[in-house]
């Protein structure tokens, strides 16, 4: 079946970024850390800091029950709170920090042998580690997937550290595997220990020379090479059940356990045709996108995308903080607006769909409001990878339309007109 239903092979545009070292980025103007998402009835929390109080890096700004603590990513002074609209997370109440000099708070270090699985999850919580794949707290994933004590792990369960960077521009995972492969592997081992898994590996999509160097640095059985296509559908053998965490989260877990360092930064690739050359920056969470652009000498008018080319979200305001879950900042020269043409029925969207959907048929039925016929096409299985939109020769936003159709094909909508369920 793989012969017929494949992803797309994307152009290689990672440029020089994976060849160079990760550069450190110092926040200049301000760092904004989200405290809570503001809904209709969220009470505004009170903070233990006065305005202009000095804050150490890694100190806890705010803590809600059963949530990760909100840490100060940089040392500096507390500049009050602001409300801002984030394109990814909506309306956020943020604490504003003015970067300055100061110490970094650390966690007590426990020898690795003495750690129990619950210790590791506690450290992941206290170090405020987020999974960069989806912005979910790592501790949440570990606790959710943890096998009960005395349970024999299924031989098919495998924990995968995703370092594929299968998108067009991103290369942060490649840079991390270049610089600290042992630490990343140690983090993965710790995560596997926390989940009581016996099998784990790092999934990569590296060019040949880098793959060789990686296999020299760490045991080659811990490296799994995925097929060069987008999206990746096989992170392990087809029989295995895959549990996936990000490589940056693994690295942060290793640092938290070994050195007691909290997770305050993310490695972010700044790439696209709007920058002179692409690079990987170690950016504190909450750093201003405009600051990052200035550090990359972007002076022309550009379009900024939070995330990579295939799934990134356009960022209309550059005074937006960079939050966990983003590992690529795409800087593009402004282009003329796309004009969607009529669907010519080439069927390529169905060929590239890894979920084996018929995107053209879903879009057509949704456009014609045949919602009762939409359900058989299972549009809700779409994960929005965007391969269909990429391949569409008529420039249509297929993936966005399929996602919309998936949302509207629920039972509530169906009961309006049809009598299928009655």
């Amino acid at each position: 079946m793989g012969m017929f239903l494949n992803g797309v092979v994307l152009p290689f545009q990672k440029g020089n970024a994976p060849l160079n070292k990760i550069e450190d980025f110092r926040a200049q103007s301000s760092v904004r850390v989200p405290l809570v998402r503001l809904d209709m009835d969220t009470p505004v929390p009170s903070l233990p800091f006065e305005e202009n109080a000095s804050v150490a890096a890694g100190s806890v700004l705010y803590k809600e029950d059963n949530e990760l603590p909100v840490l100060a990513p940089v040392a500096g002074t507390f500049g009050g709170t602001v409300v801002l609209q984030h394109p990814q997370y909506g309306k956020l109440l943020c604490a504003e920090l003015i970067p300055g000099d100061g110490d970094e708070e650390t966690l007590p270090v426990i020898p690795t042998e003495k750690l129990t699985p619950d210790d590791i999850i506690r450290i992941a919580t206290e170090a405020a580690i987020y999974d960069e794949l989806d912005g979910v707290p790592l501790a949440e994933k570990l606790a959710c997937w943890q096998l009960p004590e005395n349970d024999v792990a299924s031989p098919n369960y495998v924990l995968v550290a995703d370092a594929t960077e299968n998108d067009v521009f991103g290369s942060s995972a490649w840079a991390i595997l270049d610089e600290e492969p042992e630490a990343a592997l140690l983090g993965l081992q710790l995560a596997a220990k926390a989940m009581r898994f016996t099998r784990y590996h790092i999934a990569t999509m590296l060019p040949k020379d880098k793959r060789r160097a990686l296999k020299r640095a760490i045991n080659r059985i811990n490296v799994y090479t995925v097929a060069d296509e987008y999206p990746v559908t096989q992170y392990a053998d087809p029989r295995d059940e895959v549990f996936r965490i990000g490589i940056q989260a693994c690295l942060a877990l290793a640092k938290a356990v070994q050195e007691g360092r909290k997770s305050l930064t993310a490695v972010v690739t700044v790439a696209g045709d709007g920058v002179i050359y692409s690079r990987n920056l170690r950016v504190p969470y909450g750093a201003n996108v405009a600051d990052i652009l200035a550090a990359c000498n972007v002076t022309i008018e550009v379009d900024v995308v939070l995330g990579d080319a295939m799934t990134g979200i356009a960022c209309p305001d550059t005074h937006t903080p960079l939050l966990p879950g983003t590992t690529t900042l795409l800087v593009m020269k402004p282009k003329a607006a796309r004009v969607p043409q009529p669907c010519i029925g080439c069927g390529r969207c169905a060929t590239v769909c890894h979920a084996q959907l018929l995107p053209y048929e879903i879009v057509r039925r949704a456009e014609n409001m045949h919602f009762e016929r939409l359900r058989r096409l299972t549009a809700q299985l779409c994960d929005g990878c965007g391969a269909c939109s990429y391949i569409c020769p008529a420039d249509r936003d297929v993936a966005a339309a399929v996602l919309r159709a998936g949302e509207t094909s629920g039972p509530v909508f169906l009961n309006w007109g049809g009598n299928e369920d009655e």
Binding site: M1, F4, V8, P11, V168, R239, E301, D303, V304, V305, G307, A309, M310, T311, G312, I313, A314, C315, P316, D317, L330, M332, P334, K335, A337, R338, Q341, P342, C343, I344, G345, C346, G347, R348, A350, T351, Q356, L358, Y360, E361, R376, G384, G386, S389, Y390, I391, C392, P393, A394, D395, D397, A399, A400
Partner: protein, 337 residues
Amino acid sequence: MKMNNNPAPHIRTEQKSRHMIMDVLIAASVLYVFSVFNYGMRPVYIGLLSILSSVTCEAICCLIRRRSLRTLLDGSAAVTGALIGLVMSPMVAYWVPMVGSAFAVLVVKAPFGGYGRNVFNPAAAGIALLSYCTPQRMFTYPAIGAGMQLPLDMELTAQDASVGTSLAAQIRDGATPTVNRLHLLLGDFVGPIGATATVILLACAAYFIIRRTASAWTILPYLITCVLCAWCTPCTGLDTLHSILAQMCAGYVLFAGVFLLNDPVTAPRFWLGRILYGVFAGALTMLLQQVGRMEAGSCFAILIVNALSPIIDRWSYYGWRNITRLLRIRREVKAHE
């Protein structure tokens, strides 16, 4: 600051629909160039007038529907005209392809919503109309081989030029085709302007498949089915290979498979549906070639399968999905045991 607010993905593939249409126009122009060597400039004028007619009609439709005239630039109307011109007899009166193109655009394409929404292939419908209404003009071909330079400015009838019997007519009437294999491959036999050049048509098919303008899932099943049908119904007095080749070259069989069948708008989109569509079209084409009175049997066959293509598409998809699901469940059950 004006900011881009497009949904992801933020890069797109370089191959656009207009490139696919350009590919078809390029392939058609090669066939026109070939016909110049056989018949002089007359086929080119036929093609140009046909394109002029279809583009004019498309422009009228755009004005009626208050669309921008820029939609003409996608070239779909020109393709319709060019394809209709290619299956004309070289001696046909100039107004015949123009009427066919106008019918294709005004009746078959525009009322359904224009390019991308038409149910039937406009070119096939235009050809079908002409072959039904003016078979005398459509199927009267000049005998080839005299280095014929057809006069441009006069309407030709059966009395004027030396008239030959087309290959399709010979096969249909049960006679032994008189064309040898080399001439069949080189297109040196009596027939329409562009539908006789066997080697060029096959090269066009390869070009479309390589450029991904057309799907191999349609062309190959169609051709294989046609070959199998031809093998089952041999011509009298020819060996098997020669008979198959003659039947494949007769009428519009090859031309329809390469140009008309592959119109993505009217074909199924799912790969299994495409295979079934190709097989069905091939079988129907050969049936109509055998029993029909028209040489344009393949056009009628394509119109019939066009009508069925949404059903073929849907059923093949659901069938395939259910089969794979069953297989997966069985595999999981086995793994569980």
